[in-house]
C-alpha cells in the first residue's frame, strides 16, 4: 500500500493506494500515528485508490475513530469505491465514519466540526 500525506490547515489527507488489509495494517497505523504525533486533529482518508478492505481493516478504522474521538479529533473517508463502499455499508461503518464525496466537502466538514 502506498500512502501519501498532504497537510491542509489543521487537516491531513492521507491518499491511500492499494489494499488496506491485515498484511499492511502496521504501515497504515504508523502513517496515521505520524500524522497524529505532528498535531493533526482532522484526518481524511482518501479511499479513491483503495481496491480492497478486509475485516481487519474495519477494526483498524474503528479503533482509529475511537482514538480520535478521545482527543476531540475527527476522521472521515473520501470517495470509497465500489467494493470498498459495499464492505463499509455492510459493516455499517458509516454509523461511525462519515463518508465524503469530494475533498472540499471533507475539508468543510472538518471546519464545521472544529467550529462546533
Amino acid at each position: 500500500m502506498q500512502i501519501t500525506e498532504r497537510r491542509i490547515g489543521e487537516a491531513v489527507i492521507l491518499d491511500l493506494v492499494g489494499e488496506l488489509t491485515y498484511a499492511n495494517r502496521a504501515t497504515f497505523k504508523a502513517s496515521v500515528e505520524r500524522s497524529k504525533a505532528s498535531g493533526v486533529r482532522h484526518l481524511i482518508l482518501n479511499m479513491q485508490g483503495v481496491r480492497f478492505l478486509d475485516s481487519s481493516a474495519l477494526g483498524t478504522l474503528a479503533l482509529l475513530t475511537q482514538s480520535l474521538n478521545v482527543t476531540k479529533g475527527t476522521i472521515g473517508l473520501l470517495n470509497p469505491q465500489s467494493y470498498v463502499k459495499e464492505i463499509l455499508t455492510l459493516a455499517n461503518l458509516h454509523q461511525l465514519l462519515p463518508v465524503y464525496h469530494s475533498e472540499p466537502e471533507a475539508l468543510a466538514a472538518c471546519s464545521l466540526r472544529k467550529a462546533g
Binding site: 478504522l61 459493516a91 455499517n92 461503518l93 454509523q95
Partner: protein
C-alpha cells in the same frame, strides 16, 4: 627464490593454524622418504602423523581425521590411488583432502590420480617452496570443506530442533483444536421438535468462528454464531472467551436476561476492540420451544438465513456494528415465528466468501440458491451438498477462512396443532 618462501612460511602456519596446528597424515612405505618429508613438514610448523602402508593410512584417517593426507603412489598392498578410492567411497571420509605424492609427474599419471580421487599432486622432488605452497593450498581447501561440514551439521541440528519444536507446537495446537471442537454442540435433537446438523472446517487448526445450540432453561434454545476477526490461536482464544460469556449460567449473572438484544448489548460493552483493532461479529437467537418464536439480534454478523417451508425465505440480519466498535450501541431484538419444516441456517462468511480460482467470490445469492436447490434433501444431506458445492466453486478443499454451516429444522409432529390454531 628464497624470498617468497620467507614471506610464505610464517603466514602459512598462522593462517591455517589460527585455532589449532593443522595435522597432516603422511602415508609412505619408504621410511627414509617418509622421514624426510615429515621433517620438512614439521619444520614448516605442522603436526605430522605417519603411516607405513595404505591400510594403516586408512586406519589413521578414521582415528585422527587429519586436515590433509599426503599419499605415496607406489606402495605394497593398497597403492595411493586405491587408498584414494577407499576414502571417496567412505561417507565418513570422502571429504578428506588428499594429495598424491609421486616420483614422476607424467600427465597420464596425474589424470589417473585425479580421476581416482586425488585433489592434488606433489612431486617427491618438489622444492621446499612448492611443498609449502601445495600444502597451504590443500589446507585452505580442507578448512573450507570443514567449515561447510560444520555449517551443514549446524543446519542439520537446527532443522532437527525446529522439526521437534514444530511437532510439539502442532500437537499442542491439535489439543487446543480438539478442545474447541468439543465445545461445539452435538448434532441431533437439541430440543423436542428441532433437529440440528452442522459442518465446520477451520482454515487453520484453530478457528475463530464458533457456534452453539444449547438449552436456555426448560423451554428455550439458545443459539449463536460468532466470528473473531483474525485467524489462528489468538482469534480462537478470544472466541472461546466470548463463548464462555455466552454460557447460560454466566448470562444469568452478567446480563440478567436471555434476551438476544440485551446479551449483545452487554457483550458489546465487555468486549471492546483490542489494541490491534481485533473484534467480534455475533448473531444470537433464542428459540422458544413451545411457541417456536425466534428472537434474535446481531452485532455485524449477517450469517443467519431462514429458509421458509413456504414463501418468505430471508436473511435474518439488520444494520448493526460489530462488537466493540461503538461502546454505547444498544442492540434490539427482532422476533419471527418459525413454522414446521422451516430451516434456520447459521453460517460464517467464510463459506460465501470462498473464492473461485479466478478470485470471484461465491457470494450469498449463490449460497442461497444452493440451499434452495437442496431443500428437498434431509438437513444433513443439504448441508453436506452445500459444502460440496462451495468446494467445487473453490476448486479445492482448503477454504481461506473458517467455514461453519449449521442448520436447524423445525419438525412437523410437535407443534403443528399450534400453527393451525
Amino acid at each position: 627464490m628464497a624470498e617468497p618462501a620467507r614471506r610464505l612460511e610464517p603466514q602459512s602456519v598462522s593462517d591455517t593454524s589460527a585455532k589449532a596446528t593443522p595435522v597432516i597424515l603422511l602415508v609412505d612405505d619408504d621410511e627414509i622418504t617418509r622421514m624426510g618429508m615429515a621433517g620438512r613438514l614439521k619444520r614448516l610448523g605442522y603436526r605430522v602423523i605417519e603411516a607405513g602402508d595404505g591400510n594403516a593410512g586408512l586406519t589413521a584417517i578414521r582415528a585422527q581425521r587429519p586436515d590433509l593426507v599426503i599419499l605415496d603412489w607406489m606402495m605394497p598392498g593398497m597403492d595411493g590411488p586405491s587408498v584414494c578410492e577407499a576414502i571417496r567411497a567412505d561417507p565418513e571420509l570422502k571429504s578428506s583432502q588428499v594429495v598424491l605424492m609421486t616420483a614422476h609427474d607424467r600427465p597420464e599419471q596425474i589424470a589417473e590420480g585425479l580421476s581416482r580421487g586425488a585433489d592434488d599432486f606433489l612431486s617427491k622432488a618438489a622444492s621446499k617452496q612448492e611443498v609449502l605452497a601445495r600444502v597451504q593450498a590443500s589446507l585452505r581447501s580442507s578448512a573450507l570443506v570443514r567449515q561447510i561440514e560444520h555449517t551443514r551439521d549446524d543446519l542439520d541440528r537446527s532443522h532437527r530442533l525446529l522439526s521437534a519444536k514444530q511437532a510439539e507446537l502442532e500437537s499442542e495446537l491439535q489439543s487446543a483444536a480438539d478442545f474447541v471442537r468439543a465445545q461445539l454442540p452435538l448434532p441431533g435433537m437439541p430440543a423436542a421438535g428441532v433437529s440440528m446438523q452442522w459442518a465446520y472446517q477451520p482454515s487453520l487448526a484453530l478457528g475463530g468462528d464458533l457456534f452453539q445450540v444449547c438449552s436456555w432453561g426448560a423451554d428455550a434454545l439458545g443459539l449463536y454464531i460468532l466470528d473473531a476477526s483474525g485467524h489462528g490461536v489468538a482469534a480462537a482464544l478470544r472466541a472461546v472467551a466470548l463463548m464462555s460469556f455466552l454460557r447460560e449460567d454466566n448470562l444469568a449473572k452478567a446480563v440478567g436476561s436471555l434476551d438476544p438484544g440485551a446479551i449483545i448489548t452487554e457483550a458489546n460493552r465487555l468486549f471492546p476492540l483490542t489494541q490491534d483493532g481485533e473484534y467480534f461479529t455475533l448473531w444470537v437467537g433464542r428459540l422458544d420451544i413451545s411457541s417456536r418464536m425466534l428472537s434474535y439480534a446481531t452485532a455485524g454478523h449477517s450469517g443467519a438465513f431462514l429458509q421458509a417451508a413456504g414463501n418468505g425465505s430471508r436473511w435474518l440480519s439488520m444494520a448493526s456494528l460489530p462488537l466493540g466498535f461503538d461502546p454505547h450501541s444498544i442492540f434490539e431484538s427482532m422476533h419471527t415465528p418459525l413454522l414446521s419444516l422451516d430451516r434456520l441456517y447459521l453460517l460464517s462468511d467464510g463459506i460465501y466468501e470462498a473464492p473461485s480460482p479466478t478470485g470471484e467470490l461465491w457470494g450469498r445469492p449463490r449460497l442461497q440458491a444452493t440451499l434452495e436447490a437442496h431443500r428437498s434433501h434431509s438437513l444433513g444431506q443439504s448441508i453436506a451438498d452445500t459444502m460440496a458445492t462451495a468446494r467445487q466453486w473453490l476448486a479445492g478443499d482448503v477454504f481461506p477462512d473458517d467455514v461453519a454451516l449449521l442448520g436447524l429444522e423445525m419438525l412437523e409432529s410437535v407443534t403443528c396443532h399450534k400453527e393451525r390454531a
